[in-house]
């Protein structure tokens, strides 16, 4: 007869099978395709496995430049989205009280519309005849509509920060909710003012949520491709676009797979380094 622990172990089987079938195996396929000797269509042929695709990448530094640029953009977007999401989460956790549920729904309301629609809305906002240019010209801040708002790297960054803020607020909100209010009361009793309590008690105790948010935004942003396609223009290209191009438009899965593997390994290495540096266990 199965003990409680044995039964729990069996419960873990379906998710592991799910991950194996829909994550690990596809990932192995991507790795296997990246080891195809020839670029172009899939044809393992003779000479597999080969490092030809990786050698081609190594000979093409622009791809690494693009990866570095995308990583830098992802870091900037993750940090900014987290900083902007923090006050939102703080308000929900400490100030909204019984209205927190309603505000949470409002925060998540944008997700009721499709991602694509929200990006298209930003095209209208940032466009030459868009709302932001209208505001700038009617208030006299600018004499002419700016053509730099849309189809630029800035447009990609602005749009992605907007997209991520509601997501980013949730783990921080959860972390703030878990803070034992007696810690804050004790700090107050010991003479700590509001700012001291915030920086010495609230922020440190919410760091696990903050870090989860940073990773949650950073990792998918590195591979983002829809937003740069729609608002990026020639200067706002991101690495994920190149991967998508190779898979869907160029029909060159081997090189696309090699690009994807390089991105995955780099992102994982950076995340691992960050985890080691920060020592999450101490924060938990």
């Amino acid at each position: 007869m199965l003990g409680r622990r044995g039964a729990l172990a069996y419960l873990a089987v379906p998710p592991y099978l799910w991950l194996l079938g829909l994550f690990v195996l596809p990932l192995l396929v991507v790795v296997a395709v990246s080891l195809q000797p020839a670029s172009g269509r899939i044809d393992f042929g003779a000479g597999w496995p080969s490092t030809n695709q990786y050698a081609h990448l190594a000979d093409t530094p622009v791809y690494f430049r693009q990866l570095a640029l995308s990583l830098a953009m992802a870091v900037g977007i993750a940090v900014t989205a987290t900083l902007l999401a923090y006050p939102l989460a703080y308000f929900l956790a400490f100030r909204a009280r019984e209205r927190a549920g309603a505000f949470l729904i409002l925060l998540l309301l944008p997700f009721a519309t499709s991602f694509l629609l929200r990006i298209m809305a930003w095209k209208l906002l940032l466009g030459r005849d868009g709302a932001i240019n209208w505001l700038l010209t009617t208030t006299g801040i600018a004499t002419e509509p700016s053509t730099l708002l849309i189809y630029s790297r800035a447009a990609v960054i602005i749009t992605l920060i907007y997209v991520w803020i509601p997501f980013a607020a949730l783990p921080i909100y959860a972390a703030l909710q878990r803070i034992d209010r007696s810690h804050l009361e004790a700090a107050a009793d010991l003479g700590a003012g509001p700012w001291t309590r915030f920086f010495r008690v609230t922020v440190p105790l919410s760091l696990p949520g903050v870090l989860a948010t940073l990773f949650m935004v950073f990792i998918p942003t590195v591979g983002e491709y829809v937003t740069p396609v729609l608002v990026g223009g020639p200067e706002g290209v991101m690495y994920g676009q190149l991967v998508q191009d190779f898979f869907t438009r160029a029909g060159n899965w081997p090189l696309g797979s090699a690009l994807a593997v390089v991105m995955l390994l780099t992102t994982l290495a950076l995340a691992a380094a960050a985890v080691k540096l920060i020592d999450l266990r101490r924060l938990a």
Binding site: L25, G40, P49, Y151, P234, D245, R249, A250, G251, N252
Partner: protein, 374 residues
């Protein structure tokens, strides 16, 4: 023993697993050569065909206006559509074992389907509308002297420009003119970039050398900052049917449909007749070698060539259609202008998209990715 040798040891097991996965997913063998055999077709035709069709299409082409004759003649047939987002994507889906009976792609990709046995030969004697198709279009669907594809939609690619800002365009090299910095929209496509450079410099598009490709790459790297944006698939900001037109775009690599739509909205635009010639693309339909309903698929394609379906493509969507009767009957001045129907020599001065090899296409798309990454 090298590191690679050590790594290679577990790979046979991985390959077996992957093969099983791919087999389970129904991946078609890529080693098959030649088109589907006649005997296979005969054995298929013995069993009663299901009264349903699946078409691997481009988004938008599923609208009934595009296949209205078939709908009228075969109202009980269920027609399902699957979608691809690029020619490479459609080929990949077919290679991956798509169950589509019919697939739709564009010139330049004909050879691959035949080489991989993904398409079956078409018996044109069964097509009642075939005589309406000019021989020049029929020839585009032939490989090794056999008719594998039915041409259907076609159009031009050229430079559309805003006549308020640009007075006259007579060459593709306007895309490289620095005075229009920030006002150009190029298609985000490597082979298209190679075509444009080939037109401008007089290269043989089917035999681009490494040196020429390096020079083309440098040329487009220098051109990149001139673009306001690079458009993909749907050129939303160029054409008034897709939303607000970006007023900063004065010069665009564009299809004739966008030009016709702009004309119909009264926009101040012109469509260049470059001295190097326009480009022309043609859409082709093939019947899958694995189709369970080849006769029904043939009927579907025959009905697409019929007058009403072809006419709808022209009048409702501004696509050209290979039915010459329909083209000859056009009276709409916008369509006449968009297709230059009043210029009998236009097609003689037009560059039709050529067949290229996988290696060429790969080199061109790699070049373009590097241009975008700079």
């Amino acid at each position: 023993m090298t590191v690679l040798d050590k790594l290679a040891r577990p790979w046979p097991a991985v390959v077996v697993i992957l093969s099983l996965v791919l087999t389970a997913c129904g991946t078609a063998s890529t080693t098959t050569s030649g088109a589907a055999s006649a005997s296979a077709q005969q054995s298929q035709s013995k069993a009663p065909e299901p009264n349903e069709l699946t078409v691997l299409e481009w988004s938008g082409y599923e609208q009934e206006d595009f296949w209205t004759d078939f709908k009228k003649e075969s109202p009980d047939t269920q027609v399902d559509f699957e979608f691809g987002i690029a020619d490479a994507d459609i080929l990949t889906q077919m290679e991956g074992g798509s169950t589509a009976d019919i697939f739709h792609f564009y010139t330049g990709w004909q050879q691959f389907y035949v080489d991989e046995g993904l398409v079956q030969e078409i018996d044109t004697s069964k097509l009642k509308n075939w005589d309406k198709v000019p021989d020049s279009f029929k020839a585009l669907g032939q490989i090794n002297g056999k008719q594998y594809y039915i041409p259907w939609d076609w159009g031009f690619t050229s430079i559309m420009y805003n006549t308020d800002h640009v007075k006259n365009v007579d060459s593709w090299d306007v895309l490289f003119d620095p005075q229009y910095k920030g006002h150009i929209a190029m298609w985000d496509d490597g082979p298209a970039a190679v075509s444009v450079s080939s037109y401008v410099h007089g290269y043989d598009e089917t035999a681009i050398t490494d040196e020429q490709l390096a020079s083309i790459k440098d040329e487009w790297k220098a051109q990149r900052p001139l673009n306001k944006f690079l458009w993909q698939g749907e050129y939303v900001e160029l054409c008034p049917n897709s939303g607000p037109v970006d007023p900063d775009i004065w010069i665009a690599y564009a299809w004739q449909g966008c030009y016709a739509t702009s004309l119909s909205q009264g926009a101040p635009v012109a469509y260049a007749n470059p001295k190097e010639g326009r480009n022309s693309w043609v859409g082709l339909y093939g019947i899958s070698a694995n189709s369970d309903s080849p006769d029904l698929a043939l009927k579907f394609l025959d009905d697409k060539l019929a007058d009403l379906s072809c006419s709808n493509a022209m009048t409702l969507f501004y696509y050209g259609c290979v039915n010459q009767d329909v083209m000859d009957a056009v009276t709409d001045p916008i369509l006449i202008q968009a297709f230059a129907l009043d210029d009998p020599s236009i097609l003689e001065r037009t560059n039709f998209t050529p067949l290229v090899t996988d290696a060429q296409r790969t080199a061109w798309t790699n070049m373009w990715s590097e241009v975008k990454s700079e």
